[in-house]
Symmetry: C2
Subunit: 209 residues, 2 copies
DNA sequence: AAAAAACTGTTGCATTTGCAACAAAAATGA
DNA sequence: TCATTTTTGTTGCAAATGCAACAGTTTTTT
């Protein structure tokens, strides 16, 4: 993915220079946005971590997304006719940048450089998001917990070019990401160790296959 | 989703006027692209249907995507470090438009209007794709086959504003889309009928909840 | 019009998975 | 530093799900 601009720099500049954006701070546990109003709002994590939480028909709570540095999220990325209530909640103290997708083509008062760049940059951010979502779908569409785990580990291994790597999630969050029951996942991890597929030391994993 | 341009018209114009794109025809069963080379290639279904097929580590075949009119697909939307082999196969006789994402910013020889529009339009196509992928992830992250089915049916019902609607997939394809075993899904459908949640008449479903 | 291919519908059975529950360890924060 | 919260690790059990297999329809192709 030859990203033709530096995402971090871009967002930093944008945040400091353009008066059409807002940056707000949230304490851990606070609601960042509700996915009910502001349909055209795009959010970017400037610092911290934000969870996307679903309360379904029966009131069950599931973490369906987890956003960190420079990731985009917001209701604009979700279909209007969903059944569920979605909430973006600060997982840690966080800073989030907001702006309206609608206002993209309009010049801001400062006539800032960043609006000119925005169209191209946003396309790249969108593409990155698609890649990320397709990756997740690849994992979610495997048939077994074992395959989900192994596929994910193989991806991490390829990404780092190492057989040993550190998990970017806690085991609790990993279970959410893979959409499996945590205890079932832990059980399967133990079986994978017993069967000689992996080694596990805290949140460090070694692939042995 | 206030799409600010007509997708169908846009693609039709693009196809006819810009000499940087190629449109090729494929017979049912032919390989459209392999997701191994041409990393920067974007594909659009002009007519027909294209399946995205995964052969995993163990050689199991799964249909992980299904593209129809004007949908975009291609290797550029997939992470480079995937474990699996992906193939786009024509599900019916199809026409597919190809062009390079790289060449986006370059003017074509005709200096065509469509290249000027392309950036904005593509951003919208990307956004549509994100929405579609998020919808699928919503379904895939429910805990049970019953919830997957009901959630999807509720979405179709809301989309059409009708309690009775026609499924856009065959039951075989629906099972793939929801990533459940077909026979297990059929069993669950019967239970949903017995429990009075739905009625089913061929590929027409009525929600009763 | 006949043959082939794809799809629907169904079932028994084995396995996988989720759920509930709890103790111990680690991390957080007041 | 002590108390609280979060995470990890584990297990028995019940329920959900995948798999295999096959017959009957429907659709497509020749």
């Amino acid at each position: 993915m030859d990203t033709k601009f530096n995402k971090k720099n871009f967002i930093e500049n944008f945040k400091n220079n353009c008066n059409r954006v807002q940056v707000k701070k949230f304490s851990k546990g606070e609601t960042v946005t509700t996915y009910i109003e502001k349909r055209s709002q795009i959010c970017i994590v400037v610092s911290g971590e934000v969870d996307l939480i679903r309360y379904d028909f029966n009131g069950n709570k599931t973490i369906i997304g987890h956003f960190v540095d420079n990731e985009i999220f917001g209701e604009v990325f979700y279909p209007a006719n969903t059944n569920n209530e979605l909430f973006a909640i600060a997982h840690k103290n966080s800073e989030v940048l907001f702006y309206n997708y609608d206002s993209l083509s309009v010049k801001c008062k400062k006539n800032c450089e960043f609006h000119k760049e925005l169209t191209n940059s946003l396309r790249q951010l969108f593409l990155d998001k698609i890649v990320e979502l397709n990756l997740r779908i690849e994992l979610l569409t495997t048939k077994s917990t074992r395959e989900k785990i192994l596929s994910y580990f193989r991806i991490l291994s390829k990404g780092t070019l190492r057989r040993t790597f550190t998990l970017p999630y806690s085991y609790t969050d990993l279970a959410d990401f893979l959409s499996v029951d945590r205890s079932a996942m832990m059980r399967e991890l133990k079986l994978l160790i017993d069967d000689g597929f992996i080694k596990k030391n805290g949140n460090k994993i070694t692939l042995l296959y």
